[in-house]
């Protein structure tokens, strides 16, 4: 599997994702010399990067969150190319700031607002996997509660009521904030997001945007591996 991680001025989780992906690629059966190599880092000005099986938009503070989070990044030359390829079916994973870019470009519906209680929230939360029927969540079981860290100021997901209904019916909701036992409650919602939504797919389930940082809990040295199956699953699906 070949992957590209787009790096914007202010991105700060790009290398974490590269490490997480590389670990999963190295651990995959038949890995090594065959195909891929480490994920490439693509600078945001580069609209001409090589063909890849997966594009990742990492977390951070691209353009300092000026104007709106992800708004300026959405117009970078690299992003114009990412949008083109996403429309042609290339899988895209947007984490945190990356999720914000995906809504700003319209590749995902809805928008991310300032957290309801105004604070930047930086802690572990639990999210429930809503479906295993996607190349991102294929290694999880639907209904499982995962412990994953979040770190964001603008994670309050909103979409029109009708739109949310349609998304839910089509299985486009990927993860929802929950209690450790999987129950969806207001107390478990760290930012006020509609229906406790923590991550959504596009209709074709080739694009995933999520607020939690799965790449930060994909290595035992980091205190847990709940995030690991996402990367394992992608490597399995795309190799």
């Amino acid at each position: 599997m070949k992957a590209a991680i787009i790096v914007f001025p202010g991105s700060n989780c790009d290398r974490d994702v590269q490490v997480a992906l590389r670990r999963s690629m190295q651990a995959a059966p038949g890995a090594g010399k065959a195909g891929g190599g480490a994920p490439i880092m693509v600078w945001h000005k580069d609209a001409d990067f090589e063909k890849v099986d997966l594009i990742v938009l990492p977390g951070g503070f691209s353009y300092g969150d000026y104007l709106r989070c992800g708004a300026m990044a959405a117009h970078s030359p690299a992003m114009t190319e990412v949008v083109r390829r996403a429309k042609a079916g290339v899988p895209v994973l947007g984490i945190c700031n990356g999720f914000q870019m995906l809504t700003e470009t319209g590749l995902l519906p809805g928008a991310l607002l300032r957290n309801a209680r105004l604070k930047f929230v930086c802690r572990d939360v639990h999210v429930r996997v809503e479906t295993s029927q996607s190349l991102f969540t294929g290694r999880y079981q639907a209904g499982t509660a995962l412990r994953i860290p979040i770190a964001h100021h603008d994670g309050n997901y909103v979409a029109g009521a009708d739109q949310l209904e349609r998304m839910a019916a089509r299985g486009q909701i990927a993860f929802r904030y929950c209690e450790p036992d999987g129950a969806i409650t207001e107390a478990a919602n760290p930012n006020g997001a509609a229906r406790n939504v923590a991550g959504v797919f596009n209709e074709a389930k080739t694009v995933l945007g999520m607020m939690p940082h799965f790449e930060r809990l994909a290595d035992p040295a980091l205190g847990g591996i709940d995030g690991r199956p996402l990367f394992d699953g992608l490597v399995e699906a795309l190799s």
Binding site: R68, A111, R114, R117, L118, G192
Partner: protein, 88 residues
């Protein structure tokens, strides 16, 4: 030509910053404030002298970048300048 763009949250979109301002005003003793919504003002100077053309370009700027039309409204005001009178 000078222009002033107002970007505001659509009604119904949660504005916790507006609420925080409202509470702060209350704490300062201004008890009569019922509602506060916070928006943005963006001032621009563009190299366009025809008001209709200016408005069209500014609309495009708003649609593409200055406002996220999923959650925000925008209003464009052309401002009087040395180039000519105020344009509505």
């Amino acid at each position: 030509m000078k222009a002033r763009v107002h970007v505001t949250l659509k009604p119904g979109i949660l504005d916790p910053q507006g609420k925080a301002i409202q509470h702060a005003l209350g704490a300062l003793g201004f008890g009569t404030v019922d509602k506060v919504r916070q928006g943005k003002v963006i001032d621009l100077e563009i190299a366009e002298t025809d008001p209709e053309a200016a408005r069209a370009r500014l609309t495009e700027m708003c649609e593409k970048l200055l406002a996220n039309t999923v959650i925000e409204n925008y209003a464009i005001e052309l401002v009087a300048g040395p180039e000519g009178p105020t344009v509505p």
